[in-house]
């Protein structure tokens, strides 16, 4: 296994205010890492730092606020994941006049996220859960070596969440996902990183993390 990224005793934060201190960890190819911790602890900060270390990889990103353009259609928001594969002229053409091939490609990932047939719907007309699926579909269409997702399924029910994460795992060899659902993390991840009060409190294989350690995160 090769290390995709390494953080060594780093202080992470926005501007002058450190959010996490003394962070040392590395991520290997093929790992399924789940970040757990109470909200506001710095999961997004850690994901952001990891993203910035992955400049030479093809990364698919699912940010917490989904980063969708509400005024555009579902098709456009999903296709956005592949804009950097094409030149400006082609992108502007797709914006105004998508080809059937492009629509079909998007429809494929929409089916896998339970959004089939909604390609022409405006994102502003979707529910919170549907928006999260659009953001996931965008990552699926983009593909790549690794996916970084920040609470990607917080607004869908547990069964669907599991299905969506499975779809994600099928598409990406490596995944780093911030989750708030402990059961989901245990079921999906190969490794769990626990964050609490400004630092990493545990970092172990999912099967080895004692339940008590996880409970203590949220205490």
């Amino acid at each position: 296994m090769t290390a995709l990224l390494t953080l060594h005793n780093e202080t992470l934060g926005w501007g002058d205010a450190p959010v996490l201190t003394g962070v040392s960890l590395s991520a290997q190819k093929g790992e399924r890492i789940a970040l757990l911790g109470p909200s506001g602890v710095g999961k997004s900060t850690l994901l952001h730092a990891m993203l910035s270390r992955l400049a030479d990889q093809r990364v698919a990103l699912v940010p917490q606020e989904t980063g969708l353009v509400a005024q555009l259609s579902v098709f456009h928001n999903v296709w956005m994941g592949r804009l950097d594969d094409f030149g400006t002229a082609r992108n502007l053409r797709t914006l105004v006049w998508p080809t059937p091939t492009e629509r079909d490609a998007v429809e494929g990932v929409l089916q896998r996220t339970g959004l089939s047939g909604l390609g022409r719907r405006r994102v502003s007309q979707l529910s919170g859960g549907q928006k999260q699926r659009v953001a996931l579909a965008r990552a699926l269409l983009r593909g790549g070596d690794i996916v970084i997702a920040d609470e990607p399924v917080s607004a869908v029910d547990p069964t669907q969440a599991r299905q969506l994460l499975t779809e994600m795992d099928r598409r990406f060899e490596t995944s780093i996902v911030a989750l708030h659902d402990v059961h989901l993390a245990r079921a999906q991840a190969s490794r769990i990183i626990g964050l609490r009060k400004g630092g990493v409190v545990f970092d172990a294989l999912a099967a080895d993390v004692p339940e008590a350690d996880i409970t203590r995160l949220y205490a």
Binding site: S52, P63, V69, Q71, L72, T88, N91
Partner: protein
């Protein structure tokens, strides 16, 4: 009713096509490149050899602006608490419906080429605008502060102790902004004979003395661009006092006795005054003048609005660093500031010298000035927009993220500038284009004040119509952003970028 950008886009393009059908865009002037080249040479080598004249004209431009805006602000502040009273509101709407230049043209018949004409031409419409804006500020003041006051019966005490102090910062910001508009208006009043910078700009241009004209223009920019730096509030009373002093000692041609009475007498329609035939009079005014004037005004303003919208949509990324880089954004900013600061009328006049007489110069001027204003506001809003770290860059970013996100604001701003463009289009008639202003000026020159009055009423009616339509469309827009352009509440919230700037007419 639910409107999307697509509906507005098709309506705009359709109206523009109808406008183009009526419009005369033929360029009949001399070789535009030759004139452009000589103007370019003039700008590269401006001639400052008459500094006293420049200084004098700059001083008078400022003096008229300070006195006019101060007059408007004081009257506006006095009227603001009573704005809810019907006749006060109607009066304010009526005075601000007429453009400063139309006011000046009418006042020339009473007060002649005196400074008072300039002060009133700026002050009267501004008073109407100030009254409306200030009354909104007063209404918006935090009710809690007033509730916390011990019971005081007097409304005046409440007003002076709580409401006015609470909105003083907004009043100050807005007045400064109005002063900028006032300086533009003051300069433009030179084109109809008042001794401001516009007067010299016009005469130099007409004599093809481009280096001297360039110097006048540079002085104008030197006044208006750093305005926010040199206008300090403690100094404003000094500025106003100096302005009054400068205007008071200005010589001006005397008016004949009884000018005001004669003017009022002439305002009465000729059939009443002289017993002339109503049919011919109405036919002449309405069919021969008001109708072609209105058609030309409407078509020109639709083309100009389309041009402004197009220009704004394409040029606002010029000030967004993510699209054009830091240096590119700085250059874009400079270009937009220049276009925003130059009054439409002045721009149209210069373009007229280049392209010769047709509607083209006016259309270009209106599109450039208003497009730059909309682009500036859009660009500023996009600066505060958060984007995901893996968002695209360059033109792709513009098309896929920036423009779709800002489209609501974009359409609201276009609808908002619509009425302002129409008002300004009417004025363009003074440059010889067949809009309503052309017929107004023609009648005033022939001392047919009664006909001019009817045409001015037509202008007001047209403006009111567009204003109502624009409000209706803005209300019907899907997820319309709350656009408070006239009420600046300080830089808070998401649409702070939309709040400071204003309708400059």
């Amino acid at each position: 009713m639910s409107l999307s950008g697509r509906h507005l886009f098709f309506a705009l393009v359709a109206s523009c096509c109808i406008g183009l059908w009526f419009a005369d865009l033929s360029s009949g002037g001399p070789d535009p490149w030759l004139t452009l080249k000589r103007i370019g040479q003039g700008i590269l080598m401006p001639d400052f050899s008459d500094p006293m004249m420049l200084l004098n004209a700059a001083g008078l431009t400022l003096a008229l602006a300070f006195c006019g805006v101060a007059f408007g602000a004081v009257i506006g502040l006095l009227l603001a608490p009573f704005y809810r009273i019907r006749w006060v509101r109607s009066l304010c709407i009526a005075v601000r419906a007429l453009h400063e230049i139309f006011w000046a043209l009418m006042l020339l018949n009473i007060t002649g080429l005196s400074p008072l004409t300039g002060v009133l031409a700026i002050g009267l419409p501004y008073a109407g605008i100030f009254a409306k804006v200030f009354s909104e500020y007063l209404d918006e003041t935090d009710a809690r502060a007033e509730a916390a006051l011990p019971f005081v019966a007097s409304n005046l005490v409440r007003l002076l102790w709580v409401r006015v102090p609470a909105c003083l910062p907004q009043i100050a910001i807005y007045s400064l902004y109005r002063l900028e508009c006032g300086i533009r208006s003051s300069a433009v009043l030179g084109f109809i004979g008042l001794p401001t910078l516009g007067f010299h700009l016009e005469s130099y241009f007409k004599q093809a003395h481009y280096p001297e004209a360039a110097a006048v223009f540079i002085v104008f920019l030197a006044l208006i661009l750093p305005l926010r730096h040199w206008v300090r509030w403690p100094l404003v009373p000094v500025f106003i006092a100096a302005s009054i002093w400068a205007l008071a000692r200005l010589p001006f041609p005397p008016m004949g006795q009884g000018a005001a009475l004669r003017f009022l007498h002439d305002l009465v329609p000729a059939p009443i005054r002289t017993g002339a035939d109503w049919g011919t009079w109405l036919d002449k005014v309405l069919i021969d003048q008001a109708m072609p004037g209105s058609i030309a005004t409407l078509s020109l303003s639709q083309i100009a609005l389309t041009g402004a919208a197009l220009l704004a949509a394409l040029s606002f990324p010029l000030i967004v660093p993510r699209v054009v880089g830091r240096i590119g954004a700085a250059i874009g900013h400079g270009a937009l500031v220049l276009l925003r600061s130059t009054p439409e009328y002045m721009l149209a006049f210069v373009l007229l010298q280049i392209f010769g007489p047709s509607m083209l110069p006016a259309i270009l001027a209106l599109a450039l000035h208003n497009g730059a204003i909309i682009a500036h506001l859009l660009g500023r809003q996009s600066a505060s927009m958060s984007v995901r770290p893996d968002a695209s860059t360059g033109l792709t970013f513009w098309g896929w993220e920036l423009f779709p996100r800002l489209s609501g604001t974009f359409w609201a701003l276009c609808l908002y500038r619509w009425e302002i463009i129409l008002r300004e289009t009417a004025i363009m008639g003074l440059l010889g284009i067949g809009t309503l202003g052309f017929y107004v000026q023609m009648n005033l020159q022939q001392l047919r004040i009664d006909r001019a009055l009817i045409l001015l009423l037509a202008t007001i009616l047209l403006t009111a119509m567009i204003d109502a339509l624009s409000r209706y469309l803005r209300r019907g827009m899907q997820n319309a952003p709350t656009l408070r352009i006239e009420g600046s509440r300080g830089p808070t919230g998401n649409n702070a970028a939309l709040k400071t700037p204003d309708p400059c007419r």
